[in-house]
């Protein structure tokens, strides 16, 4: 998988986000076995302890489960994946609203623009 690490935030948070995204988007399938910490760390070019920390946090959130002898797996709990999807979506939504407010758009204007953008046949179109 493709990783990108930015300057502004702790690395483990960025790893958590990118793994979550990979699960939500289906890049990692429910129940799929994850590569080892070392392999994941090498592929992301990050420290193994940092990758370990990200995986532990994701385990705490219920997105990953560990079987002591066979390794780490993506959860097959669709509800847990759905929860993470909502969390990621809410964070994006908040970013979007903040950006629109900074541009000086009122809530009514934002609502109207979103409505229009989602209407069939109207530009700008969402890619299906």
């Amino acid at each position: 998988m493709q990783w990108s690490i930015h300057d502004d935030r702790p690395i483990y948070l960025q790893l958590m986000e990118q793994i979550s995204l990979a699960v939500v988007s289906g890049r990692y399938q429910p129940g799929e076995r994850l590569p080892s910490v070392r392999e994941l760390a090498a592929s992301a070019g990050v420290n193994p302890n940092t990758m370990q920390r990200a995986l532990l946090e994701l385990e705490g959130m219920g997105l990953i489960r560990t079987q002591s002898t066979t390794g780490r797996f993506i959860t097959d709990d669709a509800e847990a994946i759905g929860r993470i999807r909502s969390q990621l979506a809410e964070a994006r939504l908040l970013d979007f609203l903040t950006a629109m407010q900074r541009l000086g758009c009122s809530p009514e204007q934002i609502r109207a623009m979103v409505h229009q953008a989602l209407a069939p046949g109207q530009p700008p179109q969402l890619t299906p």
Binding site: D7, D8, R9, P10, I11, Y12, N47, N49, T50
Partner: protein, 230 residues
């Protein structure tokens, strides 16, 4: 037990104080960046730890051993400039290291040198500066040491080789050993580090984990370094 313990280290060169009552303790299983401007004492500290210089005052313990043969057994050292028999080929050097160090993994070294695309047979003398660095680092990282001291390991190599080398460091160290990397190329190494140590005028200015520092300051170690040493 900590892998490295430096207590009140002081080193003077005639009138100049290179290390000034420096204290540093490193636990096992960490990759640590030793970061500081030119002349801050990085190389002096590393040379004292591996026994090439002696401190005027203070103590160094590597895995509980003062500088000497037992400490050296546990240290894999990459000098700030390549130091190999110039007449030897990489193949000769592998045999030489295998003879010298019981913990040396000859197959690992051969594989690394091959993957880095360095010719195996000609003398080191005929290699470019970058290729010499690659050979030396491959040799050092192919030991099973407790403490790796890497003095500017990626200074002379191209970015692609840099990535490969950093990945090699990540995948070759283990939870019992610690890697101390001195460098000024912070942006290139910071993602692979657990902790950073800022050194200034022979004293430790800061010693913390990369993620803590990013969380506290909201910026990369590279930017933080530029601020602290501006």
């Amino acid at each position: 037990m900590s892998v490295l313990e430096c207590r009140d280290l002081t080193k003077r060169f005639s009138s100049r104080t290179a290390l000034d009552r420096l204290n540093l303790t490193l636990p096992a299983g960490r990759i640590v960046g030793l970061l500081g401007p030119n002349g801050s004492g990085k190389t002096t500290l590393i040379k004292i730890i591996c026994g090439l210089l002696t401190a005027d005052e203070g103590t160094v313990l590597v895995d509980g051993h003062a500088p000497g043969i037992e400490a050296k057994r546990r240290i894999a050292y990459l000098p700030d400039r390549p130091a190999m028999g110039e007449w030897m080929s990489p193949a000769d050097l592998i045999a030489y290291f295998a003879d010298f160090y019981p913990d040396f993994q000859a197959e690992t070294a051969a594989e690394m040198i091959t993957r880095l695309g360095v010719p195996f047979d000609g003398p080191v003398r005929a290699l470019s500066k970058g290729n010499r660095e690659k050979v030396q680092l491959s040799l050092v990282m192919s030991r099973r040491a407790r403490l790796y001291l890497l003095d500017e390991p990626i200074g002379g190599v191209d970015p692609a080789a840099r990535d490969f080398i950093l990945r090699t460091i990540i995948s070759n160290y283990n939870q019992n050993s610690t890697v101390l990397i001195s460098t000024h190329l912070i942006a290139d190494v910071e993602n692979v580090l657990d902790d950073v140590v800022f050194i200034r005028e022979g004293q430790i200015l800061l010693h913390d984990s990369v993620d803590n520092l990013r969380e506290q300051h909201g910026k990369s170690i590279d930017l933080l370094f530029r601020e602290v040493f501006a």
